[in-house]
């Protein structure tokens, strides 16, 4: 809490005095005060434009003025001694009329409109009291467009609020959505049919107050908002950990919507996060436990237990953890195999980078920036990352920092081998090799603080650029440095740290943010276990003969040959995962586990924020159990408990914090299982949830007892506390009269601000300096390509790189096909042109790949899309040889 006392303003609404914060507009102030004032075009993240005329109220000159004048509340700033009226008959009539006009052309579509039941236009129509159509003339109609696999278009329903283009073009930097035609014919769409290109197009479904833009994946298994069982959850598809609401119906995950978190994702999600959920419903799920040595493969729980009990009692076992499994699951594995037999399921290279990042963030000399804080940075420096593809929502936050109008625009400098989508906003985008990026970073740090080491043999251009960036950074009040693991370069990470160290003073720490590979990479790294390489050594030395792999496809981590050797040396390969993959194919014992939607767990995002996701539904298949539940049972066998006497583990998180104090705080990110609101649980289903006595009646007319949730304060039914739950436990946003997402207003302390009671999640990194500030020195030599050898770059892809989201057909459609990118000069030396194929040898894998010319790529570098299907199994860092194909 800041001690600074804000001067409050007094305003009078319908003759009653209210104390309010000045500097906000009247509309948001009225909403904060709890009034139900209708609006369309204003959005807390995008501000007001006064386009829809829906938010009219009366403003009076002074106390004695009785006539007043109509004003748009979103366009008036709060001033001291303002006299306003919401209930004024003229204002009310005006608002009702605006709706009536909008409705003259509105189609009779609610019954078949996917927005229905969560429609801001419906809510506002009811709010103004317009109930009967008096206008008898024909309605306007429009043709729709095909906008790709994610967004459905139904233009007739448009009310011309302009929110879509303001979000898409101005906020998210999209180029291919616009407004066409004129007067009452305006059309919101693309110049021609085609896929919406922007990575944040899914937000249109939430931004548009009507059913013009809706979620196309939801349409394929349509369910109304009121019919979904929902739970607060965390996106699993990158390291940012955006907060989501996941909804289920009839045992299928049906929709992901944004769960407002003022510190993290705010109102938005990226398309990978919003649409990448369909792996949960995939037919590729592991359905039953398998023991491959047995004659009949599939087995039941009892025989699995007995089989495993013997293995666990006699074998020497090591455990391979996972950066996409929750802390609970990883900890349960650690408990089962013991601390000394517990390994991170990531290659040594990645483990090294993560150790380095953890060290830097734990020094306490830098501030690990939240996405919210990024939005207000005034100078941004990106070293070797492509946020749009590696951590999409970070790119959206940076965009806001740079385009902050009208006060002052932020400045941005980017160094990355290839062009990134953010280049267009950058004051300078340097396309350098990873080593040169690191050298640039070191040079900037040196220009800021002479104690930082200076690279030798720096070329004049780099030095000049470094000095220029340093000068700008020095002037900045809120500088932000971004780097990450994507290029696999330790030097870059250290260079970024040096810049941040050089900028930090004791009372003002520079913001630094690292993009890390997966949703719980940070959490796993904090467990401080040796990497996959060490696990392999242990097996090779015969110190262990059985391996347990937790939710991890090792063939995506390292060269195929190495993983093959590892598995071939093991007596038993026990794999727990939710989808079949190459690793599960090697399993001698395969155990199906729950996905995030069927499990509860905690993860740590790139910022070091511990966040919890809750189970959305109880799966029909009882084999889909949480990994930590299985693993804790196996531990009990090991301790000699018989399968018949198994117990549910007590609070794993508390136990984990006791044994690993670096996680302190992570156990308390949500209220615990005994938490009750006035003696009641928080229902996962809204009070309008339908079909309870019919949905299972085809199986048995006597309804089964609903599942009970013993591990959280949420219930799987619609019974329970109906008011506002605490922020970490919000399963859905709804308020009387506000059925759409706009009801978030009611959940916020101040409209647009944090959720009541504080945004959920807890940062685990220290606020205070705990280690000495020592500049790092890991300067690579000048990069000079070797003839005939290319340095292979891993280029992350928003669609394709992430392992699970690819199961959504739309994501697979958008994912690039394998290719190799080189520059013009290299292409010429290889005597090859765009789209011709190259024979590429990387380690001992051979690929035939079409060429893409990226003219900005430095010489001697070849980029390949990182870990997309068909291109996994490369050990990083990689070098390769390129030859022109014979075909």
């Amino acid at each position: 809490m800041s001690l600074e006392v804000k001067k409050m303003a007094i305003i009078y609404i319908d003759h009653k005095a209210y104390e309010v914060t000045p500097g906000k507009n009247v509309l948001e102030t009225c909403l904060t005060l709890g009034f139900n004032l209708p609006y369309f075009c204003w959005h807390p993240a995008m501000g007001s434009v006064g386009a829809c005329r829906q938010c009219a109220i009366k403003l009076f000159k002074d106390e004695d003025d009785t006539r007043g004048r109509l004003v748009m509340s979103c366009m008036e700033m709060v001033k001291d001694n303002m006299y306003l009226s919401i209930d004024d008959p003229t204002a009310k009539a005006f608002r009702a009329q605006v709706i009536e006009w909008l409705m003259t052309n509105h189609p009779h579509d609610c019954a078949v409109c996917d927005e229905g039941g969560a429609c801001h236009l419906q809510d506002m129509t009811v709010m103004t009291g317009h109930t009967y159509r008096r206008f008898n003339y024909p309605k306007r109609s429009y043709k729709n467009q095909y906008l790709g696999p994610f967004i459905n278009h139904e233009m007739n329903r448009c009310i011309q609020c302009y929110r879509c283009v303001r979000f898409y073009k101005d906020y998210a930097g999209g180029k291919d959505l616009d407004v066409f035609a004129a007067h009452n014919h305006v059309y919101f769409g693309r110049a021609e049919d085609g896929i919406l290109e922007n990575e944040f197009s899914g937000n249109l479904a939430e931004i548009c107050p009507t059913g013009v833009f809706t979620d196309r994946t939801l349409k394929a298994h349509y369910t109304r908002k009121w019919d979904m069982t929902t739970a607060p959850s965390i996106c699993q598809h990158c390291s940012l950990g955006c907060n989501i609401i996941a909804g289920e119906r009839y045992g299928e995950l049906r929709q992901i919507t944004s769960r407002f978190n003022g510190e993290v994702n705010g109102y938005f999600l990226c398309d990978r996060g919003r649409f990448g959920y369909e792996f949960v419903n995939s037919t590729n799920r592991v359905q039953q436990p398998l023991i491959r040595s047995k004659s009949s493969d599939a087995t039941d729980k009892q025989s699995l237990y007995h089989y495993l009990k013997n293995i666990l009692a006699t074998d020497k076992i090591i455990g391979i953890a996972s950066p996409r499994a929750s802390l609970e699951a990883n900890f349960a594995l650690r408990k089962l195999v013991g601390k000394e037999n517990f390994y991170q399921g990531i290659p040594e290279m990645e483990a090294l980078l993560m150790r380095c990042i953890l060290y830097i963030l734990n020094t306490g000399h830098v501030h690990s920036s939240s996405l919210k804080e990024m939005e207000s940075a005034d100078v941004v420096l990106i070293l070797g990352e492509d946020p749009t593809n590696a951590a999409p929502l970070m790119a959206l936050a940076i965009r806001q920092a740079v385009r902050r109008e009208p006060i002052q625009k932020g400045e941005m400098y980017i160094a990355h081998p290839t062009q990134t989508k953010l280049d267009e906003l950058a004051s300078n985008a340097a396309h350098l090799s990873p080593d040169e990026i690191a050298r640039l970073g070191y040079a900037i740090a040196n220009a800021l603080n002479k104690n930082a080491p200076l690279p030798e043999n720096l070329n004049a251009n780099t030095l000049k650029l470094a000095k220029r960036i340093a000068r700008i950074l020095k002037k900045a009040t809120k500088p932000l440095i971004i780097s990450g693991t994507s290029l696999g370069s330790e030097s870059i990470i250290k260079a970024a740290a040096n810049v941040a160290f050089a900028l930090s003073t004791d009372d003002k720490k520079a913001s630094l943010s690292f993009i890390v590979p997966e949703c719980n990479s940070m959490g796993l790294a904090m467990m401080k276990a040796p990497s996959l390489m060490h696990a392999k050594e242990t097996i090779e030395n015969g110190k262990a003969n059985t391996i347990i792999v937790l939710e991890n496809d090792l063939y995506r981590r390292s060269a195929k040959k190495e993983i093959d050797t590892l598995f071939n040396l093991c007596k038993e390969v026990i794999v727990l995962d939710h989808l079949h993959n190459e690793t599960t194919g090697k399993a001698s014992v395969l155990i199906p586990v729950a996905t995030f939607a069927e499990a509860e767990g905690t993860m740590v995002n790139n910022e070091g924020r511990a966040q919890r996701f809750f189970q959305v539904f109880s799966p029909k298949n009882e084999n889909f159990r949480e990994s930590w539940r299985w693993l804790d049972e196996f531990r009990q066998f090991k301790d000699g408990i018989n399968p018949e006497e198994l117990k549910v583990p007590d609070d794993l998180m508390t136990e984990m914090v006791a044994s690993m104090p670096q996680f302190k705080g992570a156990e308390a990110v949500t209220p615990d299982a005994d938490f009750r609101m006035f003696g009641q649980k928080i229902p996962r289903e809204p009070h309008r949830y339908s079909g309870r006595t019919a949905m299972l009646a085809n199986i048995n007319v006597s309804e089964p007892k609903p599942h009970e949730d013993s591990i959280s304060a949420l219930s799987f039914t619609m019974e329970g506390y109906k008011g506002m739950p605490p922020a970490p436990l919000i399963p859905f946003f709804w308020a009387p009269g506000w059925n759409s997402v706009q009801s978030i207003n009611k959940y916020q302390e101040e409209v647009g601000g944090s959720l009541r009671g504080g945004d959920p999640g807890k940062r685990l990194f220290p606020k205070m300096p705990v280690l000495e500030k020592i500049f790092m020195n890991h300067i690579p030599p000048v990069f000079s390509p070797l003839p005939g050898e290319w340095q292979i770059l891993s280029l992350p892809q928003i669609f394709g790189t992430e392992e699970l989201s690819i199961y959504t057909p739309g994501v697979a459609e958008r994912a690039p096909k394998p290719y190799i990118a080189i520059n013009k000069k290299d292409a010429k030396s290889l005597n090859i042109i765009e789209n011709e194929s190259l024979q590429v040898q990387i380690q001992d894998q051979n690929y035939t790949l079409p060429v893409r010319i990226k003219k900005e790529l430095p010489d001697g570098l070849a980029g390949i899309p990182y870990n997309i299907p068909g291109m996994c199994g490369i050990g990083w860092p990689a070098k390769g040889t390129l030859k022109k194909g014979k075909t």
Binding site: P107, H108, D109, C110, A111, V112, G116, G117, N136, Y137, P138, K139, R140, S141, Y142, K143, N144, E154, N156, R157, F180, A181, A182, H183, H185, Y187, K219, H221, Y222, T223, R224, W226, D227, Y250, R688, Y689, S690, G691, R692, T693, A694, M695, A697, N698, N700, V701, S702
Partner: protein
Amino acid sequence: MISLLRTIGLTFLHMFRKRETIQYPEEKVSLHPRWRGRIVLTRDPDMGERCVGCYLCAAACPVDCISLQATEDENGRRYPEFFRINFSRCIFCGYCEEACPTYAIQLIPDFEMAEYNRQDLVYEKEDLLIDSQGKYPGYNYYKVAGLDSGVKGKGEGHNEDPPIDVHSLLP
């Protein structure tokens, strides 16, 4: 004493009045068209399924005994993939009919639905859908909706202007 005899007398006189009790089932009751009995799903004048799978009946049902799943045909016409009413729970309140924006779901004057086995009171779409428009002839929702679902093109619906030409700037 007198009042007693009077009562007996009056009761005796009733024997000569018209009888209200009917000899069901030999004799059938005549019910009014708006009598709330068996629930059916009707068809539109073109004999297409009227139900558009909007879930409003299910939401309105106070005992939650309706459950369905909407799906779409190749033209984008929405219809229920399954539609289930658990009549062992239904209280024949008629809220579903009131909520239905398409006149699809209707309560009809028929109460002869008794079963020996409760499970047999669970009706699926095959049991509910009839080949008739029921009480409200003439209405076809897809003709008045803005959506093009293969029933009418954009701008061809009831009281609809032809689609806007986006390239024209004429007033």
